[in-house]
Symmetry: C2
Subunit: 331 residues, 2 copies
DNA sequence: ATGAAAGCGCTAACAA
DNA sequence: TTGTTAGCGCTTTCAT
């Protein structure tokens, strides 16, 4: 049997209420009794039972994080941001992978709620009314990170993907490429759609006639980049620059082009997205859009603490800044 | 106020014990009452409170995972293995980062225990008697993954690092390199020490006189590889092959050599470790030791479930197989 | 400053 | 098959 608060109380000749007070650093305890109680706690090796505490106080100091896939370089960095801030505010994280599966997401939200988390951090492809309904079946605060909310009802942290893609494409155009190509996942992920929108806006603004063959909208991995560029370079009219939706695809494009005997950036310039560590671990190094992944997580967690403490929140939908870095894959 | 088991019982005209039975799929319930109760549960949207359940049953169906750093490609893959098996057995994971800091590790174990986890998965540099003491201050099972236990008391999942390093080095020697070089983190991480031991064994077995300049034993990142190879190639006698302790360092070595005008594998052959996704995302692709990261996590979690269910365990210290893959960075 | 006592929502004997 | 009841270990009024 474990030591309980009751054992400590008996041993210290005080009531359990007093022990509870010293454990919770309540100031209404005479210094001498506090000292005595602490001494007994240390001696007996008393460890408060957080479950009992949670039941009595209705606070568990744990928050649920639902993410698509922790093994992705993007989300693991983001989760690190979440974790660090959570630790800072004394929360623990229950982490679950959804694989972007809606049913799984809905079910995970339910599990989190059963476990009485104090708040939920959600990352996924996009929020539907069903998600919102599931969230509101309990009254815990929810914050979205890097996730699009078509219902526009939930607090969120994002960057402006459309604008970032616009800027990257425009940069390529200004470097003299009349019609950069585009390789990115499809519109099922809202951020991909935003990227495509930004890409199109830059093209349109430059008065270019859109060539649909130049937009490859499927896949998301290194291989998608590898194959995408091969497809593009087998076209009768070949692109001279490619903007990709992720660094991984960007690296794939660089290698795919090199495998075909092209030189980067001489024959073809490449621009990535995210600024993952990988972007500097390739030759030439990859120019890319800096997306502050760690900060996305950290700010989301910070925002969640505000809601959990019922602090006032001035801005519920935060857009974090992005910026472009030019490296070896562009001239 | 939330719906409780009591509300459901009243509404369904049964006792809370009966509701508890249907929720827990106890078979001692007449089908008709079961049906009635389920109907009420659905109608009222009853959601069992896992915290109360945990207090009463002394089981939380959550396990704690302590890892060095979730943003590392190695651990995030491993955690994915843990997560998948945990989900399969209906457990949730509380994830925390220790940054290999011993005090933090000890404190995290304590937090996990306070939260009454049913088991702990620990990953770290190495286990000391203090760790063991902290673990045994409660009676929850612990399993180590990819972690060395000098006390040799805890169940663990590992691969044979010494043997793997031996094989990789030997392969390089057999390819005609008299004295391959070695770049790897230092002995503070036990697996690094094992790698070094294996490297030395292959060298010794081949009757080579050890050249200490050829073993760089610091750092762990891409940059360490980059700088390590530059140092090696500035030596009066230069190595013609390098074995590194991680793929990231291996890729760094490839790029560092290329930056200096050397060709891989013509002038210098490179062998990595881990078989992370990165090893195929470089030109030439990296030959490496396949370490089954996902499996390390999955098997560790599976083993933990056995301990938690008090099933019999035949082998508490599991060594998973490794193997070498040759790719473009070796001839 | 301290204590008594009533829950928190559930499980698990034990009875019936 | 079902119900009664006593906790699980703690927080939190309310008294004192």
């Amino acid at each position: 049997m474990n030591i309980t608060i009751y054992d400590v109380a008996r041993e210290a000749n005080v009531s359990m209420a007093t022990v509870s007070r010293v454990v919770n650093k309540n100031s209404n305890v005479k210094p001498s009794t506090r000292k005595k109680v602490i001494e007994v706690i240390d001696r007996m090796g008393y460890r408060p039972n957080a479950v009992a505490r949670g039941l009595a106080s209705k606070k568990t100091t744990t928050v649920g994080a639902i993410i698509p896939d922790i093994s992705s370089i993007f989300y693991s960095e983001l989760v690190r941001g979440i974790e660090d801030i959570a630790t800072m505010y004394n929360y623990n994280i229950i982490l679950t992978n959804s694989d972007q599966n809606k049913d799984k997401e809905l079910q995970l939200i339910n599990t989190m709620l059963e476990k009485q988390v104090d708040g939920i951090l959600f990352m996924g492809r996009n929020i539907t009314p069903e998600h919102v309904e599931q969230f509101s079946s309990a009254s815990v605060p929810v914050v979205l990170a890097a996730t699009y909310d078509e219902t526009n009802e939930l607090p969120s942290i994002n960057i402006d993907y459309e604008e970032a893609a616009y800027e990257a494409t425009k940069l390529l155009i200004m470097k003299g490429h009349e019609h950069p190509a585009f390789i990115c996942g499809n519109e099922h992920l809202q951020s991909n759609q935003f990227k495509y929108d930004g890409y199109l806006r830059a093209l349109t603004e430059a008065g270019v006639t859109i060539n649909d063959d130049f937009a490859i909208r499927e896949g998301y991995s290194y291989n998608a980049g590898l194959e995408g560029i091969k497809k593009l370079l087998s076209l009768p009219v070949k692109p001279t620059a490619v903007f990709t939706g992720s660094d991984e695809m960007g690296v794939g494009v660089i290698h795919g082009a090199q495998d075909l005997g092209y030189e980067v950036p001489k024959d073809i310039e490449v621009f990535g997205f995210n600024n993952t560590r990988m972007s500097t671990m390739v030759r030439p190094t990859l120019s890319t859009v800096i997306q502050p992944m760690y900060d996305l997580g950290a700010v989301a967690m910070r925002l969640l603490t505000k809601y959990m403490n019922k602090e006032e929140v001035t801005e519920a939908n935060v857009i974090l800044p992005h910026r472009l870095v030019e490296r070896g894959s562009t001239k």
